[in-house]
Symmetry: D2
Subunit: 455 residues, 4 copies
């Protein structure tokens, strides 16, 4: 079947391959979202008199059928279709005739693809936030379980001061909660309906943009039609940046785990079923997944950069360059979510070796504590520091647990204040629930059944 | 004078040059922030009995003197000082003796530099948000002044559909307001006090972290001491990412202006005093500043990437790598703010040439309008599209102003709804005011006078 | 069938999905290369007595069969195989029993995958260099065909000085030839055989690495076995950087064509069959492919960055992070080659509109020529410049062709010296031929037939 | 004094600050190069009759004086001068009158700045290659000194197979030699004279471009004048990419050293004078310089990306965006060279702790050796692998030195073939010498004395 814009001449085959790219494959992720958006668009066209009630019902049934086919992996998008939008319109025209030919009234693929990406992105952010909160909860559970287990604290990777497994684990959890500030900002930016902006300049039809936004459960219409088109790629980049911050936290956690599960440290252990082997070395149990988390943090960063590089210096209005942002966006989302889930598994199965942690303490790790004892005795800090520095080897070993308990100010190893992040975690759980409560019932009402938008 | 950690041996000179880098120059931007944080730290040390009242007063006076010296450009940080923190402590010790030697009690340069960067970042975000709002306001003013002036709307840079100068200008304004969602998230992340986290593991002293946070007008203590240290670089990267989104918007606006001020378009004109010339070609009036905005968007992106690349895969606890994030952060902030201000100047002085804009219309730009007329007459959209496509040259020219007025749905050229972004702009003005009201009186109370933290 | 390292326990399913990633799909591009390398490895194992002659023959036949299956798209790599290396060994064991179990003697997947990537990379570089030379040749042909056609020369996109279509087209051609310096460097780095380095530390077997290198037509053995392993990813990054430079040149050419085919310029025209349409606007003929070239230059840059980011700060020896470089490498190669071929098509079909080019000249474009006339008359340059600058509008229009002919120094519009790049192009054609002559006969001798390594 | 293009109106002050940026500071690095290029230009102008012999002599003296002033730090470039080119012309006009006003005849700042950057880049590449070779030589010396010292070989950072300090150290050396392939390509690209291309379109004067190239010791004229201008930024990016590859190698070496100097490994030790301390922890000796090398590798990558991002999609001819590439280029060069020198110091002072290296061996590290013993006894590899895998703990400890000696194929620990890189190093030393021999005498002949172009 033909492309939406085809009118009697053919694209050169090489050019066609080049311009279509992988869109026909990538768009499998967007079929359901596009059908939902089309349902809302059809409802609005009916309301303003472009569609008859029966045409609208036919389109609604046709779109529902496409969703069911897609859910079974049976809705084909062929390279000659270019993308899911064309495949869907072609399907509707073939099935419904006139009604199908009317579905594109008052919209362009430009606003259509943005709408689909928004629905996808919103569903992704809900899943992603949940997964990050699950991981954070696992980390706080781990912190609680090993709250006062001494662990050598390091700076420059060298022995620094006494620390605890509790402090270490809770730190990652708190960082993840902070990272979610960006996910919230991304959700807010994403929560605007672009439909009706058409090719960037609106249409001479009395579109009811507010109705479409309401049906699709968006908090607002994205007002200026040109601005709506300009947000293609940008919103995706903000979502990827939110994923990126989480990945950076995970990559640092992975780096710690790669090091601290080494025999030379032995602080933690990974169960065998999380490790891979070597094709040549029979003895190997390697933390491949941690290395991949570390590497994929770089991949997600590169994907965010890719999107933003494409956007930079584009002239106003739609430009085809924007197509090239889609693969980057979809891949970064998938990588991020899978990485978070893998890390939750790691944390839940991570073993703690208290003996090896204790053995990691050497007397010099108490030098700062000794310095501050001198300060407590009245010596100015810099003098105490210099006195201890002269004979650091003379620092006497202390009991690590006692050393921890002396650090009792807010957030210190002897006073982790796990209630603080627990409260924040609860707030973010409530935020997820609120997002779902705002969206799910409306989408179910629109489609007549629950539609999976991210999987 | 010696480095804070110096104890009887010397660094190799080459190593010293390599490790100090440009810190002694960069830190001029942080002197005031560090002094303020030290005032709060001293007040807290006095409260918990580490400092006597007179020691605290002496430190307060000494720190105030440093700020005044720095404001006059007379506070020197030499390469052998390494950074501002050392220069300040050395100054206090030289001036005050014992009291000076006590200022570093219960803190490390790690939490100290984070605190200074937070104060700097907070002041920057206020200035930056104000500047972006000023630019957005200029764009909305421009949109209002030329609201119904027809302008060819483009996609793929080719003629697409009728548009207006109002739509075009307001689009950039709305995008900037959206970009500020990220600035808000950055502000929230930045608004947490790291002091008391020391070298990452707390100290065996009853530090009152809440008091310090209150004195420095932070909304909260950054709880977990290790997480507080891990946020070095990350918070900066989030601020830079917020600047980056604004820069991307500016670079696209700059790209449009570079094109549309060309003689071949002539839609807009830049006054001579904003243009530069050529060393060889006497006739040239070049839009250098727009080209530099375009290029500097790439620079800010690279700086954000640099910071995040440095963070990736760092092991836990402080690592010296973090120092390398400072120049990137400071430069990206300065570039971003200056670019916004330059673009405001451009918008305020931009000329509009209605005749050239009108001349840009060609009959084919009305093809979609013609298609939708057929739709209004009952023809299915896809059939109407094909019919018009067969003879696009037959599309009749219409009056551009009338064409605009037919697009009356929300956000379309005939109904820009400038009240929507006006309301949002007012909210963001209020946000700026609230930030300032939260911070300025407390900092003035702490220092005894107004301290400039970003300039 | 099992993974090469499997030994009685199972990976968690989520972990398996995460670690395998897309390797089982990506590796379809490497099957032939891996089979060729295995043929050479088997020949060497036979020579040193590890394989009997009949075992080696059986392996040779089995590997040839795999190549034929793969060429028909019938060699399956399933996710549970992890990668092509496992699928191939499993196939050989299933088909040949003992002999199959011996093929992995003295190698690791680490050196095996590097070898496959080298063979792939070498074949790619030959194709890529040829394609770039074809494009350069098309540009020089275009330059010759329109050598003295006047074209406004621009700086800052503003009118600057008289130029010609010949100068413009030949410039891109010369730049592409310069870009190939990097392709040559990449070829040189890639032209070293890693086999025998095994898991990074060699093996206690008398491997004949020189024989393997000779059979696979590499110029040298990559000596140090640890260095050989460290070159994974790095060589790929250098190849991608070579592609990137070509893409940057193409993106600039694409940018020019996007602008200069606009109605407002009309200098050049693209035939309809290279343009795409719009789903809503019936009149559109858009240069989508040029926009995609522009965007994909950003994608290739991001892919190169991704690889290098992954490499940074990896500890010595193989790390699983390296797997994450594969998709980036393969995609960047494919994107680069296709883009070059598309641009050749564009250049070959590009129309030139002399009338519009001539109309682009305005009097002020001759201001510098007028200045230098005054200089020729004895006035110091800076004085002449100032005099002309005072009344630039007074510059008289000149005949553009005459203005061009006055620029007769080397490389100027009146003296393009197309013989210079022609000579260079011939040298690079000879380099391609030499590469092929070094490689093709040896690989054919090894396999017994021609094996396609890049498609 | 005025800008070169100033003609009776003033730039807005904010715009001026924005457009000049840091050029007036950065250009201190280019003054000598610009003076040399101007000497060659003046000689050529004299030859073609634009300058009288006495004017040329005056200019030669004036330029020599500027070099001497600059060498003493006494040649000022003020913000209002914009850049060194203006400062130099203004100086010459003030000092020499008419002759000074003639120096800019037949050139633009566009080709002028490219020429200066080429001279700078060439001098830098000589220094950089020498420094890399010095470091490689230090590594080979270290490898020879500890050639057979056993060291645990790792993959995934886990124990893998027996290795040696010799293999480890020589690997880095060989990698650096490979990295220099890119430095060679960069040198080749850089070795072309852009002068005479003027503002991109040549001039109507009989410039003798070959003479200028010869005087400045370039191997060739960069032919097409537009292509010459387009190479601005690109050549710099290729140089930065060459530096980047070296930095990636250094960052991996630094990562190894950070880990292997930890007390938990203790394989190597850094002398105290290369380590820094902590402001709070008196006992600390931190490997700050290694962390900074690791971080600065990311910075150099970001700088390369920045340059290439700026170039992407620029229209043809000079664009002001290119100015923004200068700081990135200069900083990346300086960072790269200093890092290499610092790492040479590290290698030369690095201690080896044979006892700790030996203690790192655990029985399972010999599992592959045991497997291959079974293979030597006739068992198929995969069967032997599975047999050893069943009881990896049963692997018996072997003598590490003996295990090394059994790996005798090319490049293995028992046969490092240090002669191979030694030969390559000698070739590269000869390449440096050839570069210098081509350049230094000609530049001295031009200036009359040795001019320092990189410091």
């Amino acid at each position: 079947m033909s492309k939406l814009w085809q009118k009697g001449y053919s694209l050169d085959a090489l050019i066609e391959r080049f311009t279509v790219g992988d869109d026909y494959l990538l768009d499998r992720a967007l079929v359901n979202a596009d059908c939902l958006a089309s349902m809302a668009h059809a409802a609005m066209l009916a309301k303003i008199g472009i569609l008859t009630a029966s045409e609208r019902e036919a389109l609604q049934r046709g779109l529902a059928e496409i969703i069911r086919l897609a859910d079974r992996g049976e809705f084909a998008i062929r390279p000659e279709d270019e993308d899911c939008h064309t495949a869907i319109e072609n399907f509707l025209v073939a099935r419904l005739g006139e009604a199908g030919k009317k579905i594109h009234t008052g919209r362009s693929r430009n606003d259509q693809v943005i709408a689909a990406l928004r629905l996808f992105g919103r569903a992704f952010l809900v899943e992603f936030q949940q997964a990050v909160l699950d991981l954070a909860e696992a980390l706080f559970g781990f912190a609680r379980a090993h709250e006062q287990v001494p662990m050598p604290g390091r700076t420059h990777l060298q022995l620094a001061m006494p620390s605890s497994v509790g402090l270490w684990a809770a730190a990652w959890g708190e960082e993840l909660l902070e990272d979610l500030v960006l996910a919230g900002a991304a959700y807010e930016l994403n929560d605007a309906c672009p439909l009706g902006s058409a090719a960037s300049y609106g249409v001479p039809l009395p579109l009811d943009r507010e109705l479409v936004a309401e049906l699709l459960a968006f908090s607002r219409v994205q007002n200026n039609v040109l601005a709506a088109n300009h947000s293609r790629g940008r919103t995706e980049s903000v979502i990827v940046d939110a994923v990126e911050q989480v990945m950076l936290t995970l990559s640092r956690l992975a780096q710690d785990l790669i090091l601290f599960t080494l025999p030379e440290f032995g602080y933690f252990s990974l169960p065998q079923e999380l490790c891979a082997g070597s094709s040549i070395m029979p003895q190997k149990r390697n933390p491949d997944l941690l290395e991949l988390v570390r590497a994929r943090a770089a991949s997600v960063s590169a994907r965010g950069l890719q999107i933003k590089s494409i956007l930079r210096a584009l002239p106003s209005g739609y430009n085809r360059d924007l197509q090239e942002t889609k693969a980057a966006f979809l891949e970064a989302c998938a990588t991020g979510l899978l990485s978070v889930r893998v890390m939750e598994l790691v944390v839940r199965r991570l073993g703690v070796n208290e003996a090896r942690l204790a053995a990691g303490f050497r007397p010099e790790i108490f030098a700062t504590d000794r310095t501050l004892e001198l300060v407590a005795g009245g010596m100015p800090f810099r003098d105490a520091y210099r006195q201890v520095a002269e004979t650091p080897s003379a620092a006497e070993a202390q009991d690590p647990r006692e050393a921890l308990l002396k650090k009792r100010h807010t957030g210190a190893p002897g006073n982790l204040r796990l209630d603080v992040p627990a409260k924040r975690l609860a707030e973010l759980r409530a935020r997820t629930a609120a997002w779902q409560a705002q969206v799910s019932p409306k989408l179910k009402a629109l489609a007549g059944f629950d539609v999976v938008l991210y999987r």
